[in-house]
Symmetry: C2
Amino acid sequence: MKPLFHPDIDDVAPADIFAALADPIRLGILVALSSATEMDKARCSNFVGLASPSLLSYHFAKLREAGITHMRIEGTSRYLSIRRADLDRRFPGLLDSVIEAAQRDPGLPRISEEPATKP
Amino acid sequence: MKPLFHPDIDDVAPADIFAALADPIRLGILVALSSATEMDKARCSNFVGLASPSLLSYHFAKLREAGITHMRIEGTSRYLSIRRADLDRRFPGLLDSVIEAAQRDPGLPRISEEPATKP
DNA sequence: CTTAAAATTCAACGATCATTGAAATTCTAA
DNA sequence: TTAGAATTTCAATGATCGTTGAATTTTAAG
């Protein structure tokens, strides 16, 4: 289980960021992440509904390798977070306007609320 | 000479914008355009130096079809401008932070000053 | 040890991309 | 009318992309 690669934020070029944002599924992930207060909502397995596990893995890697997200491994699970401090320092204002734009896009795939209660 | 296609700004999805921005040459065009006060600087022929004419044409079309730029035909020349009002209304704050990020990117191709004096 | 859950890896596919260079277009000016 | 400048179009290229499904890895739990 090799440690995951996360680029130094200063090595990230604007074009790399935009390439990572140029996909509806990845924007959907970002939007979901941006309103994930509880930790459960940031667990990768909670993003099924956006795409198949295999495809999700691909998109998670794109976001991570572009410096947008951080991924932490815990047991068999992975937890995602936005690298907000890094991004805000390097690209001031960008993340907020990106999220705001994406949030209002009716075309984005969304995660259904209510992870289903276990009776 | 068919009139150029410019998408309605409301038909432009965030992912389309980011796809158009995911290229260093196009970011270079955007940066140059953003500081083009005089009209001469917005003429397409002033962007040689960024790429070959044929390649420039390709990138101009990408920016235009994504709703980022407007292109006006005048004789054999074309003049470019950023659709700032449209973009600011639809994606508040986005354009400014994009340009700011791109401007500071040392990796972007840039247009040389001084169009060469003719002695 | 066996099983199950979570996630990644891999090979394959068609689609789109950026780039090149040659040919065609469109307009202006001599 | 011809010559030239500005720009686009076209075909070809190799590269990368998003997607699928099957196989694999990794870890925790019975």
